[in-house]
Symmetry: C2
Subunit: 478 residues, 2 copies
């Protein structure tokens, strides 16, 4: 274990709960099971994450919209596979005020069935296509598995995009646009991930196929942070989503959808970069990028205070988000502890010595390295340091992913790799029954095959011994 990251790898649960509490990320003491509160620091980070994504989506012609949270029962039931996939986990509204409702309403578990009836109204001819929308909202799933803040809640914040196209090929192009949008956000957060095509038995209810971004987690359970789905004409047929084509005929649209879980993306950001002292935030989403801690010295209070404010003004002018922690309730050491827990990328320590020398002592959150710089070079140095932090945490996350990957050529070997909490590559014939056998035998799941390139199997299926068709990735999962 390098880089002061012992705790999170040795006891992830405790470490994670402590960080969520002390860094004021989420609070799960809300009096309804599976529902958590995003606190100030946590929500400030999440907001920056979804704003980055929204910007990216709007730059690629997705219109921001907001659809109702309630879906009528009859509309929800239009796509057969979809209702089958979700019906056991929806919340039902049955009454309002003193009245029983004529028909039950459910809280959206995802918004296809809210959105398609409106798409049907809006889309008339091919000139209305492609139609692309996105919304950041909460969705509701009555999870029966154990809930866990950020990873699995009964209410969770996400961004979902829905698009409609003239044909399957244009929807295929859109799948790529979705993947690239998500990739850009995860990359900005310094996260490493695999893009896997899920096996058919694990695809989104109603999809032709599903892609997923899976990231490593210190406890060895893979964390799915985003999914992109090709829906073909499945939903368009169920919702009669047709348009008039060039020849005046009615044709079914092809559709896609993709969703990024904000809680899980935040969880990955915390889990990949954090260390024994708490959060380590990528500068791009840190609510404060620099914290200035004045070092008081008797008789020099004014000098230090003035200089601190001068440094703050310079950094704010340069566009940095800055906190000046000049309260007198905590000693400097306690302030260091606090802001390290909050993951602020750079600390600036300022005492009389710095003030007299017109210098600033900078401390990097990720490596704890100190560097004394001249005030004249401050903006340049802080900019460079932020870039170095970003590069370092990104590289560290990627190295970890590489290290997690392993191969196995027998169930026995797979079991051993799973015990080491690895993500394991195996040869697979593609038969679901072999995947289920793996699940039964080793408590790991076939997560799918690499999407970006076809990986040639190196031998026969590890379960049945028939010809291997794919390299499948197997892991424990949230």
């Amino acid at each position: 274990m390098t880089d002061n990251q012992t705790e999170k790898f040795e006891n992830f649960s405790e470490w994670f709960d402590k960080v969520l509490l002390e860094a004021e990320i989420v609070d799960d003491r809300y009096p309804v099971k599976g529902f958590s509160v995003y606190r100030g620091w946590g929500y400030s980070i999440v907001k920056r994450i979804y704003q980055m994504l929204e910007e990216k989506l709007e730059a690629t012609d997705h219109q921001p919209m907001q659809f109702p949270v309630v879906i009528p029962e009859d509309t929800f039931q239009k796509e057969e596979d979809h209702i089958e996939g979700f019906s056991t986990e929806v919340f039902w509204i049955t009454h309002a005020g003193e009245n029983e409702l004529d028909r039950r309403l459910l809280l959206r578990p995802t918004s296809e069935t809210a959105i398609y009836p409106m798409f049907k109204i809006w889309i008339r001819s091919h000139a209305d296509l492609p139609l692309r929308m996105h919304q950041t909202c909460n969705v509701y799933r009555y999870e029966t598995k154990a809930t866990r803040p950020l990873f699995r809640g009964r209410e969770f914040l996400w961004n979902e995009a829905h698009t409609a196209h003239v044909d399957f090929e244009d929807a295929e192009r859109q799948v790529n646009v979705g993947v690239e949008a998500y990739r850009s956000v995860y990359d900005a957060l310094g996260l490493s991930y695999l893009i896997l095509k899920r096996p058919d038995f694990d695809k989104f209810a109603g999809a032709v196929y599903s892609l997923a971004f899976d990231t490593w987690n210190p406890d060895g359970k893979v964390n799915q942070i985003g999914t992109v789905h090709q829906l073909g004409e499945n939903f368009a047929k169920a919702f009669e989503l047709t348009y008039e084509d060039d020849d005046g005929n009615r044709a079914h649209a092809s559709t896609t959808c993709y969703g990024m879980g904000m809680g899980r993306t935040l969880a990955a950001t915390i889990a990949h970069h954090g260390d024994d002292n708490g959060l380590v935030l990528p500068p791009v989403v840190a609510p404060r990028q620099v914290v200035i801690v004045p070092i008081p010295f008797k008789g020099k209070e004014d000098l230090v205070s003035q200089y601190s404010n001068e440094v703050k003004a310079i950094l704010i002018d340069a566009g940095f988000r800055v906190a000046l922690d000049d309260g007198d309730r905590l000693r400097p050491g306690e302030k260091y502890y606090k802001w390290e827990m909050f993951g602020v990328p750079i600390r600036a320590e300022l005492g009389p010595r710095e003030a007299n020398a017109r210098a600033v002592t900078l401390v990097r959150r990720d490596t704890k390295e100190k560097k004394k710089v001249q005030l004249d070079d401050l903006v340049e140095e802080v900019t460079a340091m932020a870039a170095e932090i970003q590069a370092n945490i990104t590289a560290r996350s990627r190295e970890r992913l590489e290290g997690e990957l392993a191969d196995a050529s027998s169930l026995e070997e797979l079991k051993n790799r799973m015990d080491e909490r690895r993500i394991v590559r195996v040869n697979w014939c593609g038969d679901p029954s072999c995947a289920f056998e793996i699940k039964d035998q080793v408590a790991g799941e076939v997560r799918g095959t690499l999407w970006e390139r076809h990986e040639k199997p190196t031998g026969d299926c590890l379960v049945c011994g028939d010809g291997g068709k794919y390299i499948a990735y197997v892991s424990r999962t949230y």
Copy 2:
């Protein structure tokens, strides 16, 4: 009627519905009554409105948070007046999946009862105060009155802030902070309004007193766009919100809350500034501030196209939000019509003549005035024109408010003024029964008294003839 605003004053309902539909603001064809969809253009505006407010709130130390949408029945019932005020209009979740829930959950009609149990955990000593949070979210009220998109829905988007303080006086200071934050947003939108202290019988359920921002509407019904409430110790007592004071004793906190309805604020922005051709948007929230319409000319297509892109790049570089409408499905006149409906503040017309002269023809949305400017002056001219538009629509809205105000000294006269759809000032003794009498007699409501300064009554109560204590504002209302 000046300024091309006949339709909205003569037939507000039709005009408003047409604008909502054609400018793609909201769509109420969603298959659940009282639930509407924010479309792309509408949501882009609303997002800018709430982001302006969020920025203002965060600059005054409100932390952004997100609380669950569900509240357990028992928690909701802790504050007696509050439950009485809201119980007839909440949606109840009774089932999840196949199960009946142990205890019913309701969808928040407002979030006090979700937030106070957490404040109780977070607040221990006076060092934790003041505590200020805000969230932008949807709330749910089973309205029995007729619903109307943006004005009254069963789901509506708002921003709500909740604050806790050491005592009533500090909460009073916070009331002022809330008022100033709201004022700054409404002013940026060019809206005129009255800040009224609601009569006791019309205050927020559980409040000590309530302030409200009321704006005029073309149909003569006043539109409440925001409220600010002093809650004193009422909620703190119900939720046992105490802190340890300097002397080590437990004391009750004092709290405030305030909410800005995004739908109603958008409705006011549309209603105040719009005209017979559609929306007229304040530049600050216009999703596109300038639309470039190329004027095609046979044989000069390349020249015009190149020049249009050059103009676009200059404006984008200068920080403007720009659309270049260079599609060939619509003729220029049809494009003018479309972008006028969408309320884009400035149109730039570019043909071969403009290209050859290195000039741009600008057209103001609010007055339709044309101005030909040189390319070298473009950024300066567009900046100035945006400021003029803002000043003009603001002044126009304020004049209208002044013109709406009237006095009445008898019920008969009040009735006549109400028929003219005015906002009427009357002398009032302060007795609720006189206010109810007014409501019965003239179909107008006592909305309250001016908050910013005490207005001296000019005579006896218009109903009972006893001594007048207040100048009350009476109007029809949404």
